[in-house]
Symmetry: C2
Subunit: 110 residues, 2 copies
DNA sequence: GGATTTACTCTGTAATTCAGAGTTTATTAC
DNA sequence: GTAATAAACTCTGAATTACAGAGTAAATCC
């Protein structure tokens, strides 16, 4: 059985990675709004992803206060992609062939 | 953004639930072997799933020492199914339509 | 120029995760 | 029959993680 990247397999961090993958990049505040998370919690998870080089930051000096833009690194995107493959192997997720076995009567149709 | 059931969205518990869904039921030892996990760790996660009524146990009195057989409850299967739907919404997982947006060039093809 | 807001960062607490030691019941060797 | 081994868990405690709210610094509003 394949292990699920523990860095990505955590509620907030999965959402963070998915959001960044979809959005390309986002500011602290955008992330906070979209993920509905407290400041401290957001920054601690962001920090962890940055430490793993899954996320990079870019300082944006605009008019007004400087902001940081966060985005997935190639490493992060790759990890996310491999994480998704692992999920597909583990669970029946539409991409049926990938799942090692499909469940009883129920499959994925609900 | 939809939250991911924190009970299921944890590496060992996701695997546990997926395995039980696939196998129907399994003994402590089977689970231990398949998930490659320590006794203590397995029992603590199992306990958590049982407390949530995601997993039920059944005592099996055979020849030799009695064993416990673990399986998903209807509640657990339902939760797993909803968890999978949430994942599908969040990530591009083969079932493409469900994902809120598909990523840049990369999509799911590797 | 004082009050507010924005954009984070720090700190401490609570909860979670985990390994290994402990317990109980059965089986095998003698 | 009993000592040693094994199976099937359960308990304990330490390490890590997750989280909220308080703190800080810079900009904007009045």
């Amino acid at each position: 059985m394949e292990a699920l990247d523990p860095l990505l397999h955590q509620p907030l961090r999965t959402q963070l990675a998915a959001f960044l993958a979809g959005a390309g990049e986002a500011s602290f505040t955008e992330l906070k709004r979209n993920l509905q998370v407290s400041d401290g919690n957001l920054e601690s998870h962001l920090k962890k992803l940055i430490a793993a080089d899954y996320v990079s930051l870019r300082r944006i000096e605009g008019p007004g206060r400087a902001q940081t833009s966060y985005s997935l690194t190639p490493t992060g995107l790759d990890a996310l992609q491999r994480y998704i493959k692992a999920l597909q192997k583990l669970l029946p997720l539409g991409d049926r062939d990938a799942a090692e076995g499909t469940w009883n009567g129920q499959a994925t149709a609900g």
